[in-house]
């Protein structure tokens, strides 16, 4: 791809040629684009796609993926940002081209670290899954062919011969009617996740995969290919980054939407210590609420709890001095010697503020980190209550928080389906009844580029939304 500062030459293709270059509304991004493009368009495409992927992430946390609500919201978002999604629409050239080029631009920004790659691959996979799910069944074969995936649908006769076995093997098939389903024959080694759990019929080295299960295989292929491609891109990145026009943009892209986003500096000093008790019951996520309660009751927290809660307090605006005072006051109540605190604990607090050692200014843990790593054991209060609490205890806790029975059962259902973050979201909705959904989404997009809603707001990094979302306690929201 050439980058010119000069006004671009819009590639004028005759109708059929345009259609031929992008035959489908979705793609595997196997070929990088080869056009001239202006810097301005480069930047705009990148930012638009980033917005799209952010929405994919937020929607994936707020709603269970695959449900009607999720699908319709995602479709609306894609349409709003003018990306391609549906096959049957008329002139799809521009949106598809946009989709193509912007993906490759973002590869440049997101190949640079393991975390960035993981995030990028996750959102791109979710996007592809959605687009594939709305692809009409008769278009699937040609899409697979064009993407060089060797999955052939088998004929009716072949299906009939094996009908019983295929039905007996696939848990995803609804009823005994196989005629309506497409079944694909693929080499068994390409269907690893299916055959290892005996979820597919194997015969003579081939797996007979119904359409519903093909998606999982396609996504795995996609993930593997994209992962490899990102590794390759990272290696050739220095050449790209040396272009001074691109370097600032690429850095800005990869930093602005991942990780250290909610302006901690902007928050500092906005909270006073005496507000914490009331904030903990009104505005903290349940994980922090329980940590705070345990700290107050036991005048102590173990290491896991100190890390999780301490970084959270920093995120919502506690200064180092306030933090030292806060922890010391509480630990002394537990008959700790002030000197012992200074010796044993204050160093760690200063370290987490980036004032000691390698001076990394640590950020609060994301939900994913809390859910997936370091599960709590006896005597610990950290972790995610939706993930780590026994359902009965969780129910009692929610009842004591005065959540309605209807809300509690919704939350417990989500927990059963392992949708922990969505459950937390539900908890938030139940405890903040004034905010409606659109307002809530606006809140989610808070970042360096948008203003706070009102001057007396405090921005709380509600880990729920990955590392980037914030819960804004608005002064006009009655519940704050």
């Amino acid at each position: 791809m050439e980058f010119s500062g000069v006004k671009r030459r819009k590639p004028w293709l005759i109708g059929d040629q345009r259609k031929a270059s992008y035959p489908h509304s979705l793609q595997f991004y196997l070929q990088p684009p080869s056009e001239n493009i202006s810097l301005i368009e480069f930047e705009n495409l990148a930012i638009d796609r980033l917005k799209l992927l952010k929405s994919v992430e937020n929607l994936g946390v707020s709603y269970v993926k695959g449900t009607e609500l999720y699908q319709s919201k995602l479709e609306a978002e894609i349409r709003r940002l003018k990306f391609s999604y549906r096959e049957s629409l008329e002139d799809e050239y521009e949106p598809r081209r946009k989709d193509h080029i912007s993906h490759f631009i973002l590869r440049l920004a997101y190949c640079q670290s393991e975390d960035l790659r993981r995030w990028f691959i996750q959102q791109e996979m979710d996007l592809l899954r959605f687009r594939f799910s709305i692809l009409p069944k008769d278009k699937i074969q040609s899409f697979l062919q064009d993407s060089h995936l060797h999955f052939e649908a088998i004929s009716e006769e072949e299906k009939n011969l094996r009908e019983q076995e295929i039905i007996a093997s696939s848990t995803s098939l609804g009823g005994p009617k196989l005629e309506l389903e497409y079944v694909y024959k693929i080499p068994f080694a390409d269907a690893l996740d299916l055959f290892r759990g005996r979820k597919v019929y194997l015969e003579n080295g081939f797996a007979y995969v119904p359409l519903k299960d093909i998606v999982a295989i396609i996504l795995n292929e996609f993930r593997a290919k994209l992962s490899k491609a990102l590794a390759l891109t990272a290696r050739s990145l220095p050449a790209v980054q040396s272009d001074e026009r691109l370097q600032p943009l690429l850095n800005h892209l990869s930093h602005s939407y991942i990780g250290q986003d909610y302006s901690i500096q902007g928050n500092a000093g906005k909270i006073s210590l005496d507000q914490i008790d009331s904030l903990s019951t009104k505005s903290f996520p349940p994980c922090m609420r329980q940590l705070h309660k345990a700290l107050r009751e036991n005048h102590h927290l173990r290491h896991g709890g100190r890390m999780q809660y301490g970084l959270f307090l920093k995120g919502i605006g506690l200064t180092l001095e306030q933090a030292l005072q806060f922890w010391k006051q509480e630990f002394i109540k537990g008959k700790m010697d002030p000197d012992k605190f200074d010796k044993g604990y204050s160093y760690n607090i200063r370290h987490s503020f980036g004032k000691e050692g390698k001076r990394t200014d640590y950020t609060p843990f994301s939900c994913l980190k809390i859910i997936l790593t370091n599960p709590p054991s006896q005597g610990d209060y950290h972790g995610c209550p939706f993930r780590h609490s026994d359902p009965e205890l969780l129910k009692q806790k929610l009842q004591s928080y005065k959540i309605t029975p209807g809300g509690i059962s919704q939350i417990l259902d989500l927990v059963k389906g392992t949708h922990y973050q969505v459950a937390c979201q539900k908890y938030f909705e139940m405890t903040h009844n004034a905010c409606d959904q659109t307002h809530f989404n606006e809140v989610l997009k808070l970042n360096r580029f948008t203003e706070s809603i009102c001057s007396s707001t405090v921005i709380i990094p509600y880990g729920c939304f990955g590392n980037t979302g914030c819960l804004v306690i608005c002064c006009h929201c009655k519940t704050s």
């Binding site: 076995e165 093997s169 068994f188 055959f195 290892r196 759990g197 005996r198 194997l202 003579n204 080295g205």
Partner: protein, 415 residues
């Protein structure tokens, strides 16, 4: 058969490696037609020598090199490993990280010790004709799946020499399979899950996968003879209590009472089947109907594989025609056409064939000795009523075709 004395091993092995080990056919197998350059030369072997000295990363230039080294070192045990990126005996000269295992046959190891919780006749390293049926069933079930489900064509089953069997799958594409796919294959073939602390090790879902269904059909052919008569699994209270542990508690009283009234495992099993199909299906979390009967059969008879043996590309496994140092038995191939007749106690020991060779040598003329030698070689392939598929039992001529399986397999034309 001549009794085997481990103290005689050094002498016996000397003779074995000089006169009896089938080098030509062995090399022909592992060379795979010589199509891929250095395939044999990059193969790792490991030797266990006298006094338990273990040496890895052995590799050889060709058949005669292999012969010379084996005769020189006289290994007690030979293992076959992977084909590497470089000659294993030069691995120290290779840049760090560049020496990689690249290909290997897919192998399975089924060990009778893993069935100790369900066999009443023997335990640990002991085997008898009663429990050997477990291996027969294992071979039938696994081989059917490897052939019909996975489409693997070249499968060699070998007696391990003491208490189990090994399988070597040699198809070209299979040798290239990744560790992940190998693990996946073992998972597909696994149904019995849980260690000592788990009572009920098999749980079937309502949907019975064709693999499970076909495995159950195979077990049904042997179940009465093996489990109800041979093992007598419902013989007395002590033994039927173990079965009851696999059955919903609500059925216990009824079964206990009726078991007292019956006189044999056969009768009791019939009763259990009837009771299982009749119990009400609204019992929460517990299935009734044929699933219960199948789960018990599977727990007592279904093969138990060791995933660690199969998943690693660099895993070393005992070579066919290696000698077992404790029993003296030779790891001979098992003829799939005659699996039911295979008798591990009829497998020649190194002492028996060496003594035969000796006897012939002392009492006959030279040229007859050569004839007799090939006679014995012929017999290591034809073991009692069962015959090994490895070589065509009909002729002992040196140009005979090398078959890895009873089926015709020409290594000169791979694929």
């Amino acid at each position: 058969m001549e009794p085997f004395d481990p103290a005689e091993l050094p002498e016996l092995l000397k003779l074995y490696y000089r006169r009896l080990f089938p080098y030509a056919q062995y090399y022909r197998w592992l060379n795979y037609g010589g199509v891929v350059k250095n395939y044999f030369q990059h193969r790792e072997f490991s030797f266990t020598l006298k006094d338990d000295i273990y040496i890895r990363y052995q590799s050889f230039n060709n058949q005669s090199d292999l012969e010379k080294e084996m005769q020189k070192m006289n290994p007690y045990k030979i293992d076959i490993g992977a084909v590497y990126s470089h000659r294993p005996n030069q691995h120290n000269t290779v840049k760090l990280g560049a020496f990689q295992a690249q290909e290997k046959e897919l192998v399975f190891d089924i060990d009778m010790t893993d069935y100790d919780d369900v066999r009443r006749c023997c335990s640990s390293a002991d085997i008898c004709s009663k429990c050997w049926t477990l291996m027969t069933m294992a071979i039938r079930i696994i081989d059917r799946a490897l052939k019909e489900d996975f489409g693997f064509k070249h499968r060699l089953w070998v007696y391990s020499g003491r208490r189990g069997v090994h399988c070597w799958v040699c198809d070209e594409s299979v040798r290239k399979l990744s560790s992940a796919v190998r693990s996946g294959i073992v998972e597909y073939l696994s149904l019995v899950k849980g260690g000592q602390d788990v009572k009920k090790k098999v749980h079937l879902s309502e949907n019975v996968h064709p693999f499970v269904r076909k495995s159950i059909s195979i077990i049904k052919k042997y179940f009465e003879g093996y489990a109800l008569v041979g093992q007598d699994i419902l013989e007395n209270k002590e033994s039927w209590d173990k079965i009851l542990a696999l059955v919903p508690e609500t059925m216990h009283n009824d079964l206990q009472q009726n078991f007292q009234k019956h006189h044999s495992s056969l009768q009791r099993w019939e009763y259990l089947k009837k009771a299982a199909s009749q119990c009400p299906s609204n019992i929460k979390n517990e299935k009734c109907g044929p699933w219960l009967e199948w789960e018990i059969m599977l727990q007592y008879c279904f093969p138990r594989l060791d995933i660690n043996v199969s998943k690693g590309i660099n895993h070393l496994l005992k070579s066919p025609f290696s000698v077992h140092p404790k029993t003296g038995r030779i790891s001979v191939p098992i003829d799939l056409q005659k699996v039911d007749q295979f008798d591990p106690f009829a497998v020649p020991t190194i002492s028996s064939i060496c003594h035969e060779l000796d006897a012939i040598f002392t009492s006959e003329a030279e040229k007859e000795e050569n004839q007799a030698e090939s006679d014995i070689k012929h017999r290591t392939r034809v073991v009692g009523p069962s015959s090994c598929g490895m070589w065509d039992a009909a002729s002992a001529s040196p140009d005979e075709q090398c078959h890895v399986h009873a089926q015709d397999l020409n290594w000169q034309n791979p694929g």
